[in-house]
């Protein structure tokens, strides 16, 4: 009796989960659907298949320069955020200093600050130090926005490496620097790549903060925002949006696979810290 009851509950819940996933994905998938629709309006009935909206993406110099901007800013900001994520979480776990723990705590603080306030606080700062709205300012803003993610990913990775490995390296006479570079970094390489990719995605898609920090060179989300005012450019925005969604899905999928594989490979046969989640899910509640 008990088993059947649980199974029935499970089936109802399973149906609910499927409905939830439909709700989650359906509105977003409308963008690709209508990007192939031969009509300027996003409305039913569909008017037939076309690729003309994708053709408008090529040879658009404003779009191309926005794309280049986003790519360059994304790579630099992701590099910065990953570097900070590695050092902050490593020192938090092994630095044995209250300062390192404090830094790690503050680094995860932006989760508790609305994006608009992060944006204006950086706007004031960059004007104060004479930088002004610029690409450098956007890079700084995106390092900040991506920082909680990279810290959380790297921290759960470093924590999953058995302590004995690092201690063995130190006992055998390796310096701190050698231990870090030759032992801990190679062991966490999948997580580093994963953190970099997710930080890149965050920067690439970020709008709320970049809105305040951009000078004369917009990023891709800012370009989309500027196009939303014109009903005529709606199909082009949908074609562009579809391309961005496709790229995001691929990068996010690759990052997730790397993160899980890396954690599975390094997890000891007997979990040393049962409180640590096995998959190293983003532990937002740890702040």
């Amino acid at each position: 009796m008990k088993t059947t009851r649980t199974q029935r509950d499970g089936r109802w819940l399973g149906a609910y989960v499927i409905a939830y996933l439909v709700f989650l994905y359906l509105p977003v998938l409308l963008i690709p659907l209508f990007s192939f629709n031969n009509s300027i309006q996003a409305a039913f009935p569909l008017q037939g298949l076309t690729l003309q909206w994708y053709a408008t993406l090529f040879g658009n110099s404003a779009l191309t320069s926005a794309l280049l901007n986003s790519l360059v800013i994304g790579v630099i900001a992701a590099t910065g955020a990953t570097l900070c994520g590695i050092t902050v979480s490593y020192m938090d776990l092994y630095g044995r200093s209250p300062l390192a723990v404090t830094i790690s705590g503050i680094a995860r603080l932006p989760i508790l600050i609305p994006g608009v306030i992060v944006g204006i606080s950086l706007l004031i700062l960059i004007n104060l130090i004479g930088l002004g709205p610029s690409r450098v300012a956007i890079v700084l803003g995106h390092i900040l926005v991506a920082l909680p993610t990279t810290v959380v990913i790297m921290r759960s990775r470093f924590a999953a490496i058995p302590k004995t490995i690092r201690e063995a390296a130190l006992d055998l006479g390796a310096s701190d620097w050698t231990t870090f570079r030759r032992v801990m970094l190679p062991l966490s390489l999948p997580a580093i790549v994963s953190a970099f990719m997710l930080a890149f995605l965050i920067s690439f898609d970020e709008f709320i903060v970049v809105f305040f920090l951009a000078g004369t060179e917009p990023t891709l989300p800012l370009y989309i925002w500027s196009q939303l005012r014109f009903p005529k450019s709606l199909p082009t925005v949908m074609a562009l949006g579809t391309s961005i969604l496709a790229v995001s899905f691929v990068i996010a999928a690759a990052a997730e696979i790397l993160r899980h594989r890396g954690l599975a490979a390094a997890a000891p046969a007997v979990p040393l810290q049962p409180k640590q989640t096995k998959r190293g899910e983003l532990q937002w509640h740890s702040t």
């Binding site: 409305a43 508790l112 898609d205 532990q283």
Partner: protein
């Protein structure tokens, strides 16, 4: 020199150069970009607006204006109500999904976890934009309703309403809520639930008295990560909300844009942070009161 030097204790050998190099990037970012920048906002909130970057003279006039003008009370209250509704909707709808993931998913768990986190990494702007094309006058929902004969002509009732803001935000932040709840549910020892049923608790009783209280930290964490970004949102009200759903984030953004009154915008920001601090403290209190592990 073949003497074997006794190696000093590993931790005592920490070279200060290594420590400085490792602490420097994080220290720069956290102290300069986070703490100092937030300090600037607080400083600016107490300055008069003379058009210069850091204002002139010290004053509490900005806060007096925030408190005395009923407009700001209305908008703040509206932001709180919208954010609270969005938080409630996301957490309540996410809980069964997290529950399924933790207790029923079996081999499909990995795939499902991946599917619910994937939208998390897609463009927020595009997720909001999708709702604009769904709700528009000549949009997806209207045309689908007419096509299927339920409606005879398109309605303006969907777009530019506070309800549109709630639905859009609830959808945009849905992936945020599942993970914290799932992690909390997953760490509940299975023996605890078995013990409850062995002692004669019906499934619902064991859920209400054992599972739910033990998952409260996750629920509160989920509520927080949804509430904080939604209360300050300005993109969604601008795209699907219309003038009747101006939120506090919209007003802050305007002070740093068209209105060009930075000190007043800073004061509004400080007010929002105080509201969030209050909510965090209430959540902490609720966590201690109801979420304590037995």
């Amino acid at each position: 020199m073949s003497t074997i030097v006794a190696a000093p204790a590993p931790e005592a050998r920490s070279s200060s150069g290594f420590r400085v190099a490792m602490l420097l990037p994080g220290a720069l970012v956290t102290f300069l970009l986070i703490l100092f920048a937030l300090g600037l906002v607080l400083f600016l909130a107490f300055r008069g607006n003379d058009g210069s970057l850091l204002g002139a003279g010290f004053t509490v006039a900005n806060f007096a204006a925030v408190v005395s003008d009923p407009l700001y009370w209305t908008v703040t209250l509206r932001s709180l109500v919208i954010a609270a509704l969005v938080t409630l909707a996301t957490v309540v709808t996410a809980y069964p999904v997290a529950y399924y993931l933790a207790f029923h998913a079996g081999r499909r768990r990995g795939l499902l976890l991946f599917l619910v986190t994937l939208p998390f990494w897609t463009s927020y702007l595009l997720r909001v934009f999708a709702w604009k094309i769904v709700l528009a006058y000549n949009g997806v929902l209207n045309s689908a309703l007419i096509e299927s004969g339920i409606w005879s002509e398109p309605t303006l009732a969907f777009l530019n309403t506070p309800a549109a803001v709630v639905v859009t935000l609830a959808h945009a932040y849905a992936p945020f809520a599942i993970l914290p709840i799932y992690v909390a549910l997953d760490t509940i020892p299975k023996s605890l639930i078995e013990a409850a049923s062995d002692l004669g608790a019906r499934p619902f009783t064991s859920f209400r008295r054992v599972v739910l209280p033990n998952s409260m930290p996750g629920v509160l964490a989920a509520a927080l990560v949804v509430f904080v970004p939604t209360v300050g949102d300005y993109v969604t009200p601008a795209l699907v909300g219309g003038p009747a759903s101006t939120m506090i984030g919209t007003l802050i953004q305007a002070q740093f844009g068209k209105a060009n009154d930075w000190p007043f915008g800073a004061a509004l920001s400080v007010a929002v942070m105080l509201v969030i601090l209050w909510v965090v403290l209430v959540a902490r209190f609720a966590d201690r009161r109801f979420g304590s592990r037995t």
